[in-house]
C-alpha cells in the first residue's frame, strides 16, 4: 500500500463498490477500494446474467450516468434478449447472459486502471468515527495472518467511507445441517464490521438469500429440454462504449422441468431443510424462493420450470436457475437427477443459503449517507437490497454523493418520476425493508415515462451538471438529441398517398394522404412496416427511429402521465428540515408520529409515502411546517 490517506474509502469490490469507485474517479477523487481478493471484483456470485424486467432499466440509467455495469455486460455477453416486446415500450427490458469470468476480468482491469483509484487487498475491520463523523478505517491487509500478527492493522484516513459489503457481514452459509462462516462460498466472512456499526449506534438485521447448485454441462441430456436462443439484432446496454463489444450472441439457454419425483424427494427430506427446521432466521425474498419453498407453498403445481444457463464460453459449467436450495448435499444430488434431462447430471458446486447482516435503511437518507454518522455511505445488500443492478445503482449514487459532499455540494437524489434509481432510493427511505428488495417495473408509478430507450434523455442533464462526461460522450449526447428532433419532424412531415397505404396494407383512410406519424399512431398499423415507406436513410438509425415512434404513438398517454406527475410533485417540493422534531405534535396519530420520527422524511412527498401516515396526518404536518417556515 503506497497511500493511507484518501478522499473516499470503499469497503467491498462488488457491483456497488466498483461503481462507486468509477464515479468517484470521474469526480477526480482519490479512492481506496478495500477488497479481500482483487481478482474477484464485481464477481457474479449468483446468476450469470445482467438485466431483466426493471433491472435492465436500472442498468441503462447507471450507464447513462457513466457507470460500468452496462459496458461490462455488453463486453462479457454471450446471449442477448429483449423481454416483454409485446407488452408496450416502457416494460421492454434487456437481459444479457454473461461469461462470468470475462465479466470479472473486464471490471477488474477497468477498475485497476481508473485514475486516482487504489485497490487495497484486505479486510476492513473497524470504522474510525469522531464526533459522529467518519474519519477512516482500520484495515487488516490480506497478506497478514490474523492469528500471528494482530499488530499489522493499518489505519487509513478518508473524508468519506462507503460500505458495500454484500453478503459478507457475519455471513453464514447453510447446506443442510452444516453451517459455515463465510461471505461467499470458499471465502471468509467479515466479522468485525457489524460490531463497529452497532457501537456507532446502528441497528442491524438479518437477511437470507440463496443460490442453486452448478452442474457439469457435459452430463446434461439437452435433447430432453427446450432451447432458448438470443434475439437478433442483439440488444445491448451501453450508450457510450460500443467499441468494447465483441458481440457474441450464439449461446443457448435451455428450459426444463422438475418432476413428481423431485417433489417427493424434497418432501421426504423437508425436515433436513434449514429453511424449515428453524436453522435459518433471516428473511428470504419471495420472488426468488428456494425449490423446497416452492414445492411446499405451491404443492398443487405438478412441475416447476428450471432454466439451464451457461456460465461462460470457456467452461462447461452451467447455472441451474430456479433451483436455489440449501438442502443437504446428498439430497441436492438426487433431487437434481430427478429433473428432466438431468438424470445423469453431476454437481460441480453445491447450492446453499446464506444469511448476512444488513442495516435497515430507515437509518440512511435518500442520498445513501447514514443518519447517525456523517460521511458514512451505504450501498447494495447492506441496505437490504438484492441484485447486481440494484447494487450498481446504489454504488453510483453513494460514490457520486460522497464526492459531492467532499466538494461541499448538495447530494444528487433523482425523483421517482425521472428514474428507477429514484424509485429505488425513495423506496429505501420510506418502506419497511423486511425481505431483500428487488426492482420491479410495478414499483414505478410513472412507469410509462421511465423507459430503457430514454434513460439518457432523462439523466443526461444531471451528468452534465456534475461534469461526469468526457468530450466524446458529450458529443454523442448532443448528436442523439438533434437526431431525435430531426427524426420526429421527418416522420411528421413525410406524407404518403392514401392509395399507397391502401394498396400495401389494406388500410383505408378518408384523407388523401397520411404522414408517417399518422400511420404510426394507427393501432392497425405495424410500426415495423414503416421501413417499406421511407427510403431516404432516415430510418437506418434504428434506436432513434424506435424512440421517435414511441413518443409519437404514445404521446397521449405520456401527456397524461406528465399531468399526473405535475399533480403529485407538489408534496415532493415541500422540504422537511433534517432535525424536525416530531415530539409532542398534536393532532397526529401516534402510529404516524412514530413512523415519521423513525424515517425522518426530508420532503412532504416522502412523508406521504410512509405506510401508516394518512392524508390527515400530512394535512396536520403541513400546518406545522408552515409554522417553521
Amino acid at each position: 500500500m503506497t497511500n493511507t490517506d484518501f478522499d473516499i474509502l470503499i469497503v467491498g469490490g462488488g457491483h456497488a463498490g466498483t461503481e462507486a469507485a468509477r464515479i468517484a474517479s470521474r469526480m477526480n477523487m482519490t479512492v481506496g477500494l478495500v477488497t479481500m481478493d482483487r481478482s474477484k471484483l464485481a464477481l457474479m456470485s449468483c446468476n450469470p446474467a445482467v438485466g431483466g424486467v426493471g433491472k435492465g432499466h436500472l442498468v441503462r440509467e447507471v450507464d447513462a450516468l457513466g457507470g460500468i455495469i452496462g459496458a461490462a455486460a455488453d463486453y462479457a455477453g454471450i446471449q442477448f434478449r429483449r423481454l416483454n416486446m409485446s407488452k408496450g415500450p416502457a416494460v421492454r427490458s434487456t437481459r444479457v447472459q454473461c461469461d462470468r469470468r470475462l465479466y470479472t476480468e473486464y471490471v477488474s482491469c477497468f477498475t485497476a486502471s481508473l485514475a486516482g483509484v487504489e485497490i487495497i487487498e484486505g479486510e476492513a475491520v473497524k470504522l474510525i468515527i469522531e464526533n459522529r463523523k467518519v474519519k477512516g478505517l482500520e484495515i487488516r491487509p490480506a497478506s497478514s495472518d490474523a492469528s500471528t500478527s494482530d499488530c499489522r492493522i493499518i489505519r487509513c484516513d478518508a473524508k468519506a467511507v462507503i460500505l458495500a459489503t454484500g453478503t459478507f457481514l457475519d455471513g453464514l452459509i447453510h447446506i443442510g445441517e452444516t453451517t459455515i462462516q463465510s461471505g461467499r462460498r470458499g471465502e471468509p466472512a467479515a466479522i468485525g464490521m457489524t460490531e463497529s456499526l452497532n457501537a456507532a449506534g446502528f441497528e442491524t438485521g438479518r437477511l437470507k438469500t440463496g443460490t442453486p447448485p452448478r452442474i457439469d454441462g457435459t452430463t446434461i441430456d439437452y435433447t430432453k429440454t427446450e432451447a432458448q436462443p438470443g434475439h437478433d439484432p442483439a440488444p445491448t446496454f451501453s450508450h457510450f462504449s460500443s467499441d468494447v463489444i465483441s458481440l457474441n450472441n450464439d449461446s443457448l439457454c435451455y428450459l426444463t422441468y422438475t418432476t413428481a419425483e423431485t417433489a417427493r424427494i424434497i418432501r421426504d427430506n423437508i425436515d433436513r431443510a434449514p429453511l424449515f427446521s428453524g436453522q435459518i432466521q433471516g428473511t428470504g425474498p419471495r420472488y426468488c424462493p428456494s425449490i423446497e419453498d416452492k414445492i411446499v407453498r405451491f404443492a398443487e403445481k405438478p412441475r416447476h420450470q428450471i432454466f439451464i444457463e451457461p456460465e461462460g464460453n470457456g467452461t462447461d459449467e452451467i447455472y441451474l436457475n430456479g433451483f436455489a436450495t440449501s438442502l443437504p448435499e446428498d439430497v441436492q444430488q438426487i433431487a437434481v437427477q430427478s429433473i428432466i434431462g438431468l438424470e445423469n447430471a453431476a454437481i460441480t458446486k453445491t447450492g446453499y443459503a446464506i444469511e448476512y447482516d444488513y442495516v435497515p435503511p430507515y437509518q440512511i437518507w435518500a442520498s445513501l449517507e447514514s443518519k447517525p454518522v456523517s460521511g458514512l455511505f451505504m450501498a447494495g445488500q447492506i441496505n437490504g437490497t438484492s441484485g447486481y443492478e440494484e447494487a450498481a445503482a446504489q454504488g453510483l449514487i453513494a460514490g457520486l454523493n460522497a464526492a459531492l459532499q467532499i466538494n461541499g455540494e448538495e447530494p444528487f437524489i433523482p425523483g421517482r418520476h425521472e428514474s428507477y434509481i429514484g424509485v429505488l432510493l425513495d423506496d429505501l427511505v420510506t418502506r419497511n425493508i423486511s425481505e431483500p428488495y428487488r426492482m420491479f417495473t410495478s414499483r414505478a408509478e410513472y412507469r410509462l415515462a421511465l423507459r430503457e430507450d430514454n434513460a439518457l434523455d432523462r439523466l443526461a442533464s444531471y451528468g452534465k451538471k456534475y461534469g461526469i462526461y468526457n468530450d466524446s460522450e458529450l458529443a454523442l449526447i448532443d448528436a442523439q438529441e438533434s437526431a431525435l428532433k430531426e427524426m420526429i419532424s421527418h416522420l411528421r412531415s413525410t406524407r404518403i398517398n392514401s392509395a399507397v397505404v391502401k394498396e400495401k396494407y389494406g388500410l383505408t383512410t378518408k384523407r388523401g394522404s397520411l404522414s408517417l406519424a399518422d400511420l404510426i399512431c394507427r393501432p392497425d398499423f405495424e410500426v415495423e412496416n414503416i421501413h417499406d415507406l421511407s427510403d431516404n436513410g432516415f430510418l437506418e438509425n434504428r434506436d432513434i427511429f424506435e424512440k421517435a415512434a414511441i413518443l409519437i404513438k404514445y404521446q397521449g398517454y405520456l401527456a397524461k402521465q406528465d399531468r399526473e406527475i405535475n399533480r403529485n410533485q407538489k408534496n415532493d417540493a415541500v422540504g422537511i428540515p433534517e432535525k424536525f422534531n416530531y415530539d409532542g405534535l398534536k393532532g397526529m396519530k401516534t402510529e404516524a408520529l412514530e413512523k415519521l420520527a423513525r424515517f425522518r422524511p426530508r420532503t412532504l412527498g416522502q412523508a406521504s409515502r410512509i405506510e401508516g401516515v394518512t392524508p390527515s396526518d400530512i394535512a396536520v404536518l403541513t400546518i406545522y411546517l408552515k409554522r417553521k417556515a
Binding site: V53, K87, L585, K586, R602, T603, S616, V620, K626
Partner: protein, 467 residues
C-alpha cells in the same frame, strides 16, 4: 440547492378545488364553492351574467345563468360572487355560486365544474387552505392542527363507519377485484419467464372487467337511489287546460288543495305536495297550463312552470281523452328526465278502445300512455306503479346506497378508466395496467390507498414466482 430540501416553498396549494358547501337537503339555496388560482377563470367559462356589461367586482353579487361549458345548455339561474385572495376565507381566489338547493341542480353544476381543470375538495380542505394561506398567529397553530385533524378524522371516521356496512363490504370487494386484476397483469409484465402467470388473455380480462364495471354501475345507480330517497322524486303534471291535471293531482295526494273549476286557466301558479309510494318520496307538482296566457299573473305562472319542467324527474303529460286528438308540444328533456302520457276521463267514454288507439297513433310509439279517470280512480293504481318504476330505484330494502357525492365522483372516475380499457382492444398490457392503476387509485380514495405492496402481496400469494 437541491430541489425539495428548502422549507416553506411549495406549501401554497397550486390547484383549484370545488365542492358543495351547503348542507345536503336543507334550505332553499345551495352553495358551490370554488377555491384556487383558476377559480375566476372557471367561473367565466360557465357563468353568463344577466347584464352582459356587468363587471366582476369583489364581493358584488351578480345575477345570471350557469351554462354547461361544453354545449352552453342552461343548468340553473344563480347568483355568483368573487372574493380576491387577500379577502377570502381560504386565502386564495374564491368564487361562490348560489343556486337552487335541489340536489340535481347542485350536482349538475358541480359535475360541470369538475369536468374543467378542477378537483373535488377533500374533507376539510377549504379549512386547511385557510390555515396554510393566512398568516396564522403562531400561538393558535396547535389549535388549528387539532381542528384540521379532528375535521379530517371525523370525515375519516364517518366514511369508515359508512364503509362498515354492506356497502363497505361491497366496495372493498370491488377494490380487491381490481387489485387482483392488476396483480395478474403486473405479474405477467414483471415475471415474463414464469409459466404460472400470463394466463389472463383478453377474453378473460374483458370478462372480469365487465363484472367489475357492472358492479360499479350498479353502485353509481345506487347513488341515484340514495339521493332520490334523500331529496325526493319530482313529478310534474303538465297538459292542456281542463285536461284534469288538478283532479289527478288531488286524486294522487288524496287531498283537495288545488282549486278545481271548469273555467280554463284557474291554476295560476304551481302547487306541490309530497306523497309516499312504497317508501319512495315523491314531490308532486300541479302547474298552470302550458298555454300562452294573456294576463300578467298567468304569464308569471307559465314562467314558473318552465323553470319547474327543467328540474322535473318525471313529467306526466295529461290529455282529455274525450277532447281534440293532438300531439305532444315540444318539450326538451335532458338525459335524466322522462315523460309519461296520461289519457284522462275514461269514465266519460266507457267504450273508448277505438279512440284510445287513435290517440296512441297520433302520439306515436315512443309514448306509452296510462289511461285512467281521475274522478273515479280507475287506472290510477297502475299509474302509481308506473311512477315508481320510472323512478328506477332499486328495491329500497336491499340496494346499496351511495349517499356521498364525493364517493359517486370517485366511482364514476373509476368507471371512466375501466371503460377505456373495454373500448381499446389493442392496448398493450402496460397501458391496460396504467388505466387499471388509475381506476384502483380512484377507488382507493374511498377505501384507502392501493400500494404497490398490495399488488406484490397479491402476486406472491397467488403465483409461484421462482426464476
Amino acid at each position: 440547492m437541491k430541489k425539495g430540501t428548502k422549507t416553506g416553498t411549495g406549501l401554497k396549494p397550486s390547484d383549484t378545488i370545488a365542492a358543495i358547501a351547503s348542507p345536503s337537503g336543507s334550505g332553499g339555496v345551495g352553495i358551490i364553492r370554488i377555491s384556487g388560482p383558476d377559480a375566476v377563470a372557471i367561473l367565466k367559462q360557465i357563468f353568463v351574467p344577466q347584464n352582459p356589461k356587468s363587471k366582476m367586482i369583489p364581493y358584488m353579487l351578480r345575477f345570471g345563468r350557469i351554462v354547461s361549458h361544453n354545449d352552453s345548455k342552461e343548468l340553473d339561474e344563480v347568483l355568483a360572487v368573487y372574493m380576491p385572495e387577500d379577502r377570502s376565507f381560504s386565502g386564495e381566489e374564491m368564487v361562490e355560486v348560489y343556486c337552487h338547493a335541489g340536489h340535481y341542480a347542485l350536482k349538475a353544476i358541480l359535475d360541470n365544474i369538475l369536468e374543467l381543470d378542477v378537483r373535488i375538495a377533500d374533507a376539510g380542505e377549504f379549512s386547511l387552505r385557510r390555515f396554510v394561506n393566512h398568516g396564522v398567529d403562531i400561538s393558535k397553530l396547535e389549535g388549528a392542527a387539532e381542528v384540521v385533524a379532528s375535521k379530517t378524522d371525523l370525515a375519516y371516521r364517518l366514511s369508515r363507519e359508512h364503509l362498515l356496512g354492506s356497502y363497505g363490504e361491497y366496495i372493498t370487494d370491488l377494490r380487491k377485484q381490481i387489485v387482483h386484476l392488476l396483480a395478474e397483469l403486473e405479474a405477467d409484465i414483471d415475471f415474463p419467464d414464469e409459466d404460472s402467470v400470463g394466463n389472463i388473455g383478453r377474453i378473460l380480462l374483458d370478462q372480469r372487467l365487465n363484472g367489475i364495471i357492472e358492479n360499479l354501475e350498479q353502485l353509481s345507480a345506487g347513488y341515484r337511489t340514495g339521493k332520490i330517497i334523500q331529496d325526493g322524486y319530482r313529478v310534474v303534471l303538465l297538459g292542456p287546460p281542463n285536461s284534469g291535471k288538478s283532479s289527478l293531482f288531488n286524486r294522487l295526494v288524496r287531498q283537495n288543495r288545488a282549486l278545481v273549476t271548469p273555467i280554463a286557466g284557474t291554476t295560476r301558479d304551481y302547487i306541490s305536495e309530497w306523497i309516499d309510494i312504497k317508501g319512495l318520496p315523491v314531490e308532486l307538482y300541479d302547474t298552470a297550463g302550458l298555454r300562452e296566457g294573456r294576463g300578467k299573473v298567468e304569464k308569471a305562472g307559465i314562467e314558473a312552470t318552465r323553470r319547474l319542467i327543467k328540474r322535473a324527474d318525471l313529467i306526466l303529460y295529461i290529455f282529455d281523452l274525450t277532447g281534440r286528438i293532438q300531439g305532444l308540444p315540444e318539450i326538451k328533456l335532458s338525459r335524466n328526465q322522462q315523460l309519461q302520457v296520461v289519457l284522462n276521463k275514461i269514465d266519460l267514454l266507457p267504450n273508448a278502445i277505438g279512440r284510445i288507439k287513435k290517440w296512441q297513433t297520433k302520439l306515436g310509439q315512443d309514448y306509452a300512455s296510462s289511461v285512467l279517470s281521475a274522478t273515479t280512480g280507475v287506472g290510477v293504481k297502475p299509474l302509481i306503479k308506473t311512477i315508481y318504476e320510472k323512478a328506477g330505484v332499486a328495491d329500497l330494502t336491499e340496494s346499496l346506497v351511495v349517499t356521498s357525492h364525493r364517493h359517486q365522483t370517485k366511482i364514476n372516475a373509476c368507471l371512466k378508466h375501466l371503460r377505456r380499457i373495454q373500448k381499446m382492444t389493442k392496448m398493450p398490457s402496460e397501458i391496460v395496467s396504467f388505466e387499471l392503476r388509475q381506476a384502483a387509485d380512484r377507488i382507493g380514495e374511498i377505501t384507502g390507498a392501493v400500494y404497490t405492496e398490495d399488488i406484490l402481496d397479491e402476486i406472491f400469494s397467488n403465483f409461484c414466482i421462482g426464476k
